[in-house]
Symmetry: C2
Amino acid sequence: MAKKVTIATVAKYAGVSRQTVSNVLNTPEVVREETRRKVYEAVEALGYRVSQAARQMRTGRSRLIATRIESTGDGINGSVLDRFLHALTESAARSGYRVLLYTAADDDAEIATYEDLLGTYKPDAFVLASTHHRDTRTTWLTERRLPFVTFGRPWDAPDRHLWVDVDGASGTEDATRHLLEAGHERIGFLGWPAGSGVGDDRRQGWLRAMAAAGQDTTGLDHACPDRVAEAEAVVGELLGRDPAPTALVCASDSLALGALQASRALGRPLAVTGFDDTPVARAIGLTSVSQPLEEAAARCVRLLTRLLDGEAEAEESVLLRPSLVVRDTTYPPT
Amino acid sequence: MAKKVTIATVAKYAGVSRQTVSNVLNTPEVVREETRRKVYEAVEALGYRVSQAARQMRTGRSRLIATRIESTGDGINGSVLDRFLHALTESAARSGYRVLLYTAADDDAEIATYEDLLGTYKPDAFVLASTHHRDTRTTWLTERRLPFVTFGRPWDAPDRHLWVDVDGASGTEDATRHLLEAGHERIGFLGWPAGSGVGDDRRQGWLRAMAAAGQDTTGLDHACPDRVAEAEAVVGELLGRDPAPTALVCASDSLALGALQASRALGRPLAVTGFDDTPVARAIGLTSVSQPLEEAAARCVRLLTRLLDGEAEAEESVLLRPSLVVRDTTYPPT
DNA sequence: TTGAAAGCGCTAACAC
DNA sequence: GTGTTAGCGCTTTCAA
């Protein structure tokens, strides 16, 4: 292992004092051009890197962003958070931060983890995903004035915290409009049971588009848990009705996959759209709403760095527009 | 923000010296029972947590394990690494370590990241996934005597580093045997082009099982890139031949999904097995080989902690057996 | 067993 | 513009 190269090594090599090196690194504008160059050369030649631990002891900042990695759950939709996490890691690195991972079974466990982390690794900020009604995590963090951003709106109140989210309603609205343009009229919605922020939001988009087109939606709004098998059952029953919907806007790719399987099993054509543009959608050629996850992650990091640099107040939460990825399995109306 | 509680606060509260507190925390057996209890109480009451930064300055150990988060790629198989990462985070936490994330486009970029990370955050160890032929990362780390484990065998040589892996051949062997027992004889294999360690390993299992059953495999070994669409095309062509295979062991769920779609599109029954038991397999009822990822992650952490505690030499790499998850879509032979 | 002293590498204050 | 001093919180000597 190469011997340690500290700020003192660099100073000696460059023929300046330790402090000057520190200055060059942290407030370069305060050092004379030539000195600065000498120091940079020394840093380069020696392969010097600031020790985070030492820096943290002085500044109290760890340049660490902590976030939770979720258990994949259904797994089809889970991949969305994984892609977000990947993008977050990349964005954070670009801003000089690293992502520290933790797991937690529920909100309480997560809060306990905050306490532990804050005492030990002292992350500068948290990124929370999967916000939900009555989210205790955000209130806990807010009360302690800890910097954080959520990927997902606060669904309860016009909360006093920063967030980044994707406009789900706009996504399902696009999907519905796409089906309307293809000539469909009886377009159903398959979502999750009412009460979830995300799910209800996606339902709104469908309602909006249908209303705009002057279509009646009675008897077309359906819900079931986010599992393929259940969706298949529900849709199977649906297709037996008269009149049956000719198209279905789904709140997730899992539901959409179930719907598609039901329609195939019964040999009854059904146009289906999903949500999240997961690998499965790509694989089976399903039209789906795609979230701009890279953009979302980048915005989270940006919000956070501003917040940490004290330029906070000016910043505002962000609502991004998703896009519809059209694939050709969507059957024409019969 | 609660005021800082340091080791000194605890010492005062417990009525002992600072050093005693440190002893209780690091080498409890050296402190008298009663004193120890007092200190623990103080720690509890004050909610004290050791500062990692300070500890690291003294000990040089960060209690950080660094690992790469990959871009989801195909996404169907990508979920395997995500589940592994989740499990790794959990296992690491149980051993008092946290997982630090980074991204890298290729081996060289990854090595550059090692240098950066080692200079700044000083992770105690690395976990590398997706090992491949001519892996420059492992040699780089080995040369510098940096602690690491790979999830995936070193495919080139009987390398001098620790690894944990899952026996892919055993998995496909089980799958093949399962199909044989169901009465199939012309069982094909659909894998990746020769040259990938993982892919070739999985092919071996199929060969082994077929040989054991006295089945001829000529003309039954197929390969294509790991994408659903390509698999669908390949299998579509295959089913047109005479005689066509009645069953297909696939090296991944992506390939299996493609195969299934081809068989459905043509209305030609085909029994298919996949690999990795991804969410998609679960969703569409595909029989698939499941990797024990939690176990694999736990073994990685265990190997690493031993290594870091100096009990290294005794440790050995681990080859785990996967299990076959049988689902009922597997058609009977015709 | 417990306590005192030193120092890990860095940066914020202040002096030069 | 540059150098000196101090100390962040901890653990590792060494002495009591």
